[in-house]
């Protein structure tokens, strides 16, 4: 019962952040000359209003859950993976390659092989920053981000050269189409919603149990909490860091594979519209809990579907959602302070300790938030 109560409390807190984000975004909309109520109503309609809308929501929820999981897993070991897009792209290109090369195998083998190759590619790309962090101490903030751009450029190179099929359709290039056996089936007619959503949800549950019950999950959590303590307790900190980044990259690669097999059915140059960064926001809102990531991923999938629909009918740009996401991120981090305040005995007590007057006391240690 206690756990349910805690879960509901968290749900309410996160809902409060979402509400605040809607309010601030609403003000921005108002200042730009739009009617927030109509816009938001359009969002809801575009996300849940019809079977097609629902399909769109699920179509976007799948990759967002997966990238969210990737970020969440890394974060369990206190590792920041902000290069998810690069891992996603490499996973996608690997999956696509298997998809159009393996022409004679039965469906399930082809799908499995494609996704597996995708996970391997993403996993390797994610492990590199992990290795660098473990052996040189290089900040993964920088390395994952740099490898992000490098990874994307690698796929550009591949799709413009070795695996190019058609010339530009518009301005993008694409690889050969995958064989039908490799396709992830569509689940809602006339939309791109596909079986990837089931994979995403299943993986969320799997990761939840791995993190909570399996040895490797335990090690990740301890390393994530206190690396000195982990080392003292006999955990191989280096190995754990690398493994967590490996899993994280593999999940990102899986996200890329799912997008290829389920939606595009080929590798399309630069197909990801910032899915990697969406994953960061999804995971933050879900407090890096894999099950929460499912809910959060569906929510942001709905936002994506809704805003795309709204952009078609009105002129409200999709960048609106990006700002909304930023407010959520800032809200989440402020929430961390809020929790800290409550632990220290309420806002008044916190202000007495940290406020203007207290700060001029000599032995008050000035801190920047952690």
């Amino acid at each position: 019962m206690g756990r349910l109560k805690g879960f509901l409390a968290t749900l309410l807190q996160q809902a409060a952040i979402i509400l605040a984000a809607f309010l601030v975004s609403g003000i921005v909309l108002l200042l730009s000359g739009y009617n927030p109520i109509t816009v938001y109503a359009g969002f809801v309609k575009g996300a849940f209003g019809s079977e097609v809308s629902l399909g769109n929501t699920l179509r976007w929820a799948a990759p967002m859950i997966l990238t969210g999981l990737a970020v969440a897993v890394a974060f369990r070991a206190s590792m920041w993976n902000i290069g998810v897009d690069g891992q996603l792209y490499l996973g996608a290109v690997a999956a696509a390659w298997v998809g159009f090369t393996l022409t004679d195998a039965p469906g399930w083998i082809t799908v499995l092989a494609s996704l597996a190759f995708g996970m391997v590619a993403g996993g390797i790309w994610g492990a590199i920053p992990g290795v660098l962090r473990a052996f040189t101490g290089a900040s993964e903030l920088v390395t994952t981000l740099m490898l992000n751009y490098i990874g994307i450029l690698i796929t550009d190179f591949l799709v413009l050269g070795p695996i190019r099929q058609w010339g530009p359709q518009g301005t993008t290039f694409r690889s050969p189409t995958i064989v039908e056996a490799a396709e992830l089936p569509r689940i809602i007619a006339k939309t791109q919603a596909n079986a990837g959503i089931f994979i995403a949800v299943a993986l969320a549950f799997l990761l939840y149990f791995v993190i909570r019950r399996a040895t490797v999950g335990y090690e990740m959590r301890i390393v994530g909490t206190n690396r000195w303590f982990a080392q003292y307790g006999g955990i191989n900190v280096k190995k754990t860091i690398i493994v967590s980044m490996l899993i994280s990259g593999a999940v990102a690669g899986l996200a890329g594979g799912v997008e290829v097999l389920g939606v595009h059915r080929a590798f399309v140059q630069r197909f990801s519209t910032g899915l990697g960064f969406d994953g960061i926001v999804v995971s933050l809102l879900a407090k890096n809990n894999p099950l929460g990531v499912v809910l959060s991923g569906v929510f942001f999938g709905a936002m994506r579907a809704g805003s795309t629909a709204v952009e078609r009918t009105t002129e409200v740009p999709r960048a609106m959602v990006t700002m909304f996401e930023a407010i959520i991120v800032l809200g989440v981090t402020a929430q961390g302070t809020w929790a800290l305040m409550r632990r220290e005995g309420g806002v008044r007590a916190w202000w007495q300790k940290h406020g203007r007057k207290a700060r001029s006391e000599p032995d008050n240690v000035p801190q920047v938030g952690r």
Partner: protein
């Protein structure tokens, strides 16, 4: 390889390094006052956008550049408020500010400039290049340093200037004290929060200038995603230099060189794929940050380096 390493390369190196360099110098201020600031990218983005937007609105490119700096400073203010006063997590807040900058500029680009993806400055003169006159005829150094727009020179001069301010003036001393021993600084009566706010504001202004140079320096347009990780390269330059402006200057020039080589290779049509050379700046960043960290680890100890 002949057509690549020539005077022209080093001339463009200065021009290409300037945005990252300006942002890195801004990052130095934050770093020296003890703040982990990864929102340099976001500040550059708003700087780039508002430079173009204001230049278009007022008809003067330099007013735009100044506006870009102000925009960066305002982002710095937001970041400072969250991290210093509300005491939020510095990394997440930095990520949030970056996302905000990205979304805000894309949104404003569409809603107020009416364009989707790119806005080229129309009917406004760009930045004029400076002719160094006699200095320009010095062999080798002359042509390299000549014929740049003013911000390039500003960036080059700011590095030693900031060095002097940080290490030879009372203000700089206070900044460094706040960064190294905030407790002692507080006891000595230094307003720690005020100093940090100041460095983030000034640093934000510089980042904004860096972004403004990117959009108005040679080309005159703003494109979504044009900053392309330069803010993070600037962050790396700061780490590489341990916050010392002179080392940061060198790192910035290195990144500019990498980018310049990339362009040269394209033009010379050497048989290296375009993407490979585009990767060069990012690869160098990875190497730089790994080597820097490894060197630090040897000083500080393995576990300490593993812990954040």
């Amino acid at each position: 390889m002949d057509g690549i390493f020539d005077i022209n390369l080093f001339q463009s190196m200065l021009r290409l390094a300037t945005p990252t360099l300006l942002a890195a110098l801004g990052g130095v201020l934050a770093h020296k006052s003890g703040i982990l600031d990864i929102s340099l990218e976001g500040k550059m983005i708003v700087g780039a956008f508002f430079a173009i937007a204001v230049a278009q609105a007022t008809g003067h490119v330099w007013i735009g550049v100044f506006a870009g700096g102000v925009a960066g400073a305002l982002m710095g203010l937001l970041f400072a408020f969250l991290v210093i006063t509300i005491k939020t997590n510095d990394v997440i807040t930095g990520v949030g500010v970056n996302i905000l900058a990205d979304g805000l500029t894309a949104y404003l680009l569409r809603v107020f400039l009416g364009s989707s993806g790119t806005h080229a400055l129309k009917g406004v003169a760009g930045q004029a290049k400076v002719d160094l006159g006699a200095l320009g005829s010095i062999p080798i150094l002359g042509p390299i340093l000549n014929d740049h727009t003013p911000l390039v020179y500003a960036a080059l001069l700011l590095a030693p200037l900031i060095w002097v301010v940080l290490y030879k003036t009372p203000i700089g001393f206070r900044v460094r004290a706040v960064g190294e021993r905030p407790m002692a600084a507080r006891t000595a009566g230094v307003n720690v929060e005020g100093v940090r706010y100041g460095s983030l504001l000034a640093g934000g202004f510089l980042c904004g200038l860096g972004g403004a140079f990117l959009s108005t320096g040679s080309l005159s347009m703003f494109t979504e995603g044009m900053v392309a990780g330069r803010g993070f390269m600037a962050f790396t330059a700061v780490i590489f230099g341990y916050g010392n402006p002179i080392w940061v200057l060198l790192a910035g020039l290195l990144f500019g060189l990498a980018e310049g080589v990339g362009f040269k290779v394209q033009i010379a049509r050497v048989a290296l794929q375009q993407q490979v050379v585009e990767m060069l700046p990012y690869l160098i960043t990875v190497i730089v940050v790994s080597v820097t960290a490894w060197l630090r680890r040897r000083r500080v100890g393995q576990m300490a380096a593993l812990t954040e």
